[in-house]
Structure formats: structure tokens, C-alpha cells
Amino acid sequence: MGGETILIHGTNGEQGYIGGAICAERAALLQLGHHKDPKIKKVIVTTDSESPIAPGVLCREYLLSHASPDTVVVMANGESTRVSRATLQELYPCQYIYRYQRRKDVLCYATDFASNTSPVTNDVYPGAEELFRRTLAVIPFDGHTSLHPLQLAAGVLYSNGDVEVTWMLKALGNSGGVCCV
């Protein structure tokens, strides 16, 4: 930051219901808000266990919203006798296409991006066209666009030809936030 390299620490926190746990990576990343235009140079994950631990999937996704895909993640055990390295790209392929877009810009960006996408045809997978069509049809059920303008739906094709589709259920809540107290 401002040419200076500083070290930011974070630790994980668990609670009775594991779903509300906060991991060390995100605990550290939240502190970036104290600084202006921070640039993440490297991520280091260490543990008191015998083996190194990689960032969990949620944190890999979260890290990619704050750092470039070629950012190196160093993973070490407690004794630093076993060290592994990987880039965020290697740890989390197929990142969210709109991850750098602000909410007010995402529709414009998505419209432009979609105009250059290749179609989903049965050449991709037998039955993919029907799956795509039926999934797109339920997009309008993803309401609450006031929360976020992007609407999402998903569909799955089964081995017997069945198709099941559903849509995003948006909810307003601050469970995505962290109170440092």
C-alpha cells in the first residue's frame, strides 16, 4: 500500500453452528478496508496441524474478488517443514465472470458479454439445448431484483432424461458480514 508492504493477520473463528464460522483468510481480507487501494502480493496460510491446509472453497472465491488470479498462495504446516504453493487460478478455476463488476455496472457488462458467447447446443452434451431452454424459462422467478439485478437459475439433466430446474432465492441479510467485536 503506497509502496509499503505490510503484513495483515487473520484467524478463524468457529461457533456452535459451523455454518456461521469465519475463516482466517476472510478475517484478514476484511482488514483491507482500513487501507486505501491495497494490492495483495501474496497469501500465506498456515496451521498448527502436521499437514498444510489449502484455503477452503469459499475463501478461494472470496480471495479472487480481491486479488488477481496469478496471486500465489503459500500453504505451510505449523513447523514450516511442508510447504506448498499454488496460484488462485489453480485453486479456483472458472471464476465468476462478473466478479469485478459493481452492482450498478453488472447488467451493462453482462449484456455486452452475452452478445459474444457461443450457444449451448446438443453438441456440448446431448439434451443440453432442452436443459438450457427450460432453465432460462424460470429465470423470472428469481425476483427481488432490487437486492441485485442479476437473475440466476439452474437446471440438471438426469440419466433418464428428467430435467429439474430451480432459481436463485435472494435474501437480504448481514450474515455475509463480519463484526470484529
Binding site: 511442508r82 472458472c94 471464476q95 440438471v156 439433466l157 440419466s159 467485536v181
Partner: protein, 134 residues
């Protein structure tokens, strides 16, 4: 963003709390689909052991391919939570239809979207499930 000031024995500490309205309670659609996958899997198991079954409602069948798309028809890879659920609950083989950053569509297995780091790394993310309780 809120600021909390705690005064302890004449020492003032300032804390900033980030309340991020990122709809953290949202249920992504792929995670919801896993419920249906599980229902079929359980019913397949039950139908093997019982003459009476409700298998006609949800015929036993394997999920083969899924996709998540937005209103513009762009196919996105499942979000992190869904990737974890698919991989850790034996659906890593399911193919995901994804548009890449160049707009080209391709298929990826769910497990390939949660890769283990290469090298000296005995534990993959999903291997945590195999750890027995002491």
C-alpha cells in the same frame, strides 16, 4: 459501516464493523438442485429394500450435467458453496456447462472446479470427510 467505541479503564478502542449486504442468506440454485439429487439417491436406496416405494415420483436416476445461467443466457460455474456441496457429497462427476471469459462454452466436472494443490499435499478439500474422529 458502523463504528463501535469501547472504553475500558480509560482506554478507548475503536472498532469498525463491516455490515455487508451481500445477501448472505441467499440460496444459490445449484445448491438447491442437490436436494433433488439426494432425494433420488435416497429413494433409489429405499426402493432396493422395499416393495413399496415412491420411486415413481422421483425415479432413481443419476445427475449427468447441470448448468447455472443468468437472464442473458450466460452459463456460470457453480458458486463456491455449490462446488463444495457437489464435491463433498459424491456428485463430483456431474458435468457443469460453463462459459469462459472469452464466451466459449465447455464442460467441467464439479470436482475439477475444486482442485487440490499439487505437490506435497496429502489432504484435498474433500478428503476432510474421510478423517475419522479420534
Amino acid at each position: 459501516m458502523l463504528c463501535l467505541i469501547i472504553c475500558i479503564e480509560n482506554v478507548s478502542c475503536f472498532f469498525f464493523a463491516f455490515l455487508l449486504i451481500e445477501y448472505g442468506n441467499t440460496l444459490d440454485p445449484v445448491s438447491q438442485l442437490v436436494v433433488g439429487m439426494e432425494r433420488r439417491r435416497v429413494q433409489a436406496m429405499q426402493s432396493e429394500h422395499s416393495e413399496q416405494s415412491d420411486s415413481q415420483a422421483f425415479p432413481p436416476a443419476l445427475p449427468k450435467v447441470l448448468l447455472m445461467l443468468d437472464q442473458f443466457g450466460v452459463c456460470h460455474a457453480p458458486y463456491a458453496q455449490a462446488r463444495s456441496i457437489l464435491t463433498e457429497h459424491s456428485y463430483g462427476h456431474v458435468l457443469c456447462v460453463v462459459h469462459d471469459t472469452f464466451g466459449q462454452v465447455s464442460l467441467h466436472t464439479a470436482s475439477s472446479l475444486v482442485p487440490a494443490p499439487s505437490g506435497d499435499f496429502p489432504l484435498t478439500h474433500a478428503d476432510f470427510l474421510k478423517i475419522e474422529e479420534d
